[in-house]
């Protein structure tokens, strides 16, 4: 599988993403720069990793979403290339219009850095096909702006089309206000585009890959992409 990781000025999780991809696919990911205007030929997956692209100037993800590489990524996504945006990558996908909605400041204005439980809401995607429906997985978060918001019509479309991939939940898999770290609507932690080949999520599955990280629940996400 041919993969790439995009680096913007201020990205800081590119090595985490690249390490996870190498571990799962066995091949090193191409590292791409925000100023590139073309993607490598025959790419299967592009990852927009976490960090603080452009120092979160203007709005988180806003500047990165308008950088040259994003035009190429939009075209690739239309052709069916898979795109995974993690944390700042999710913010960039929303700002670029590849995913609907926006990530606002956490409802309590605090940077949240800890692990959370996520309930797998759909297995009907290239990113979640190896999980079980309703499975609870443990994945870290690290963000100040992860409060997912969309207008009522968009939200009902996401829910109705089975496009919510993950929700914040309790150990038992219950969707509660207490389990929601940032105030996201309907406890949404990750969503898919209509074609189901673009996933944006605030939590970091790439940081729960190896046993020494304390948990390997994130690995199946990357294995799902490989299996798709």
């Amino acid at each position: 599988m041919k993969t790439a990781v995009v680096v913007f000025p201020g990205t800081n999780r590119e090595r985490d993403a690249a390490t996870a991809l190498k571990a799962v696919t066995g091949t090193a990911a191409h590292m791409l720069w925000h100023g590139d205007s073309e993607l490598p030929q025959g790419l299967d997956l592009v990852v927009l990793p976490g960090g603080f692209s452009y120092g979160d100037y203007l709005r988180c993800g806003a500047m990165a979403a308008r950088s040259p590489i994003m035009s190429a990524i939009k075209q690739a996504a239309e052709r069916g290339v898979k795109v995974l945006g993690i944390c700042n990558g999710f913010q960039i996908l929303c700002e670029s219009g590849l995913l609907p909605g926006v990530l606002q400041h956490n409802v309590r204005p605090k940077f949240r850095c800890h692990t959370v439980n996520l309930r797998v809401e759909t297995t009907n995607s290239s990113f979640t096909n190896l999980y079980a429906q309703g499975q609870v997985i443990n994945v870290p978060i690290a963000h100040g702006e992860g409060n997912y918001f969309a207008d009522a019509q968009t939200l009902s479309q996401l829910e109705g089309d089975d496009r919510v991939a993950f929700r914040y939940c309790t150990d038992a898999g219950d969707i509660t206000v207490q389990a929601n770290p940032n105030g996201a609507l309907n406890n949404i932690a990750g969503i898919l585009n209509a074609q189901r080949n673009v996933l944006g999520m605030m939590p970091h599955p790439e940081n729960h890959i190896f046993a020494e990280q304390g948990c390997v629940d994130g690995k199946a996400l990357f294995e799902s992409i490989l299996a798709a």
Binding site: E95, V102, Q104, R108, P109, F149, A150
Partner: protein
Amino acid sequence: MLKARVIVTLKPSVLDPQGKAIEGALQHMGQGTASSIRQGKVFDIVLNHNDKAKAEAEVRTMCTELLANTLMENFTIQILD
């Protein structure tokens, strides 16, 4: 040369945690009359021509394409001499 000023504010329906925190700080400082604070942004833009109608249209495009995220923000444009 024309100057434009763009003011971007969060929509009233959108929660503003930063504004809330600032409001709390003001109250701790004894400024109890500040009952609501909403934080926004101001952009001052200099345009290289003198056509006001054209300026208005250009700045509107700048707003919708970059300066504001209209899902959660409103913007107002002032064209100044």
